[in-house]
């Protein structure tokens, strides 16, 4: 009987000790799912004096380029090699934007000597 009592007593001490030890240790951090929100920039290209200004832009994937026609005639902005994208004609005073996903050489398909370049790093 005394032996049983002793076992119970020791078990109680052991449980208390485990409880205390457990309390002293820090609780593990909950896993935090960090959402990497890239800050995308917006770049402006002015079309004036029959030129894209600036003619060359270095940017990150997902950045936006806004072209604004400051000339006296209609222009467009068209990917040059495979015609992958085009703004279609836009009149003086109007703008057109594109979210850039890859590097591209572009031109105005109306005034074919007007050229620009987007370089995605």
């Amino acid at each position: 009987m005394a032996n049983t009592y002793s076992i119970l007593k020791n078990s109680t001490y052991l449980l208390c000790l485990i409880f205390l030890l457990n309390s002293c240790t820090s609780t593990p951090e909950k896993p935090v799912h960090k959402v990497e929100k890239a800050i995308h920039k917006v770049y402006n290209v002015e079309i004036k004096q029959m030129q894209f200004q600036p003619a060359e832009l270095t940017l990150q994937k997902g950045d936006t380029v806004v072209w604004t026609n400051r000339d006296i005639v209609t222009h467009d902005v068209t990917e040059e090699k495979n015609k992958l994208w085009t703004s279609g004609p836009f009149a003086p005073g109007q703008s057109w934007s594109l979210v850039v996903t890859e590097s591209a050489d572009y031109y105005c398909s109306i005034h074919v000597v007007m050229k620009g370049r987007l370089i995605v790093e």
Binding site: Q49, M50, Q51, D71, I72, V73, T74, I110, V112, V113
Partner: protein, 181 residues
Amino acid sequence: MKIKQSIAVLTTFAIVCVALLCMPAIGQKNARLTDPEIASVAVTANQIDIEYAQIARKKSKNADVLKFAETMAKDHQSVIDQAVVLVTKLGVTPKDNATTKSFLAGATKTKAMLNSKKGNAFNKAYIDNEVAYHKAAINEVEKVLIPDATNSELKSLLQSALPLFKTHLEHAEMVQKEFNK
């Protein structure tokens, strides 16, 4: 001796008379164009290139020539539209002058020449003329129209048109290479 002196006096008199007779012509040649005259030259020069483009659109089957002609028709019409808006705003009536007449006389001959040609000969003649015409127009705008314009808005429109004409020239020279191979 007296005869010699008389001859010398008469010769000098004759030279002075000839010089005086020539002066008005020289003065006229160097006379500045007025703003109404500049407006007339600008509208006429643009209209002439639209007419050349219309001939090209009828006669050519070459994709590059047709594309170029389409751009010329639209761009020069755009310049005319803006010039008309400006002269209306300023209350200026374009006035015919020697430069306008010279442009028109040249255009009559050129249109007859273009209309007489067919196929690749037409394409080459059209694009060669576009190169020459834009060179002449650029020279006129740069050396005469812009310096002579007194109204700042008219001057500004001409200054805006200059890079356009230079781009047209570059485009024409690019197409011209196709026919000079």
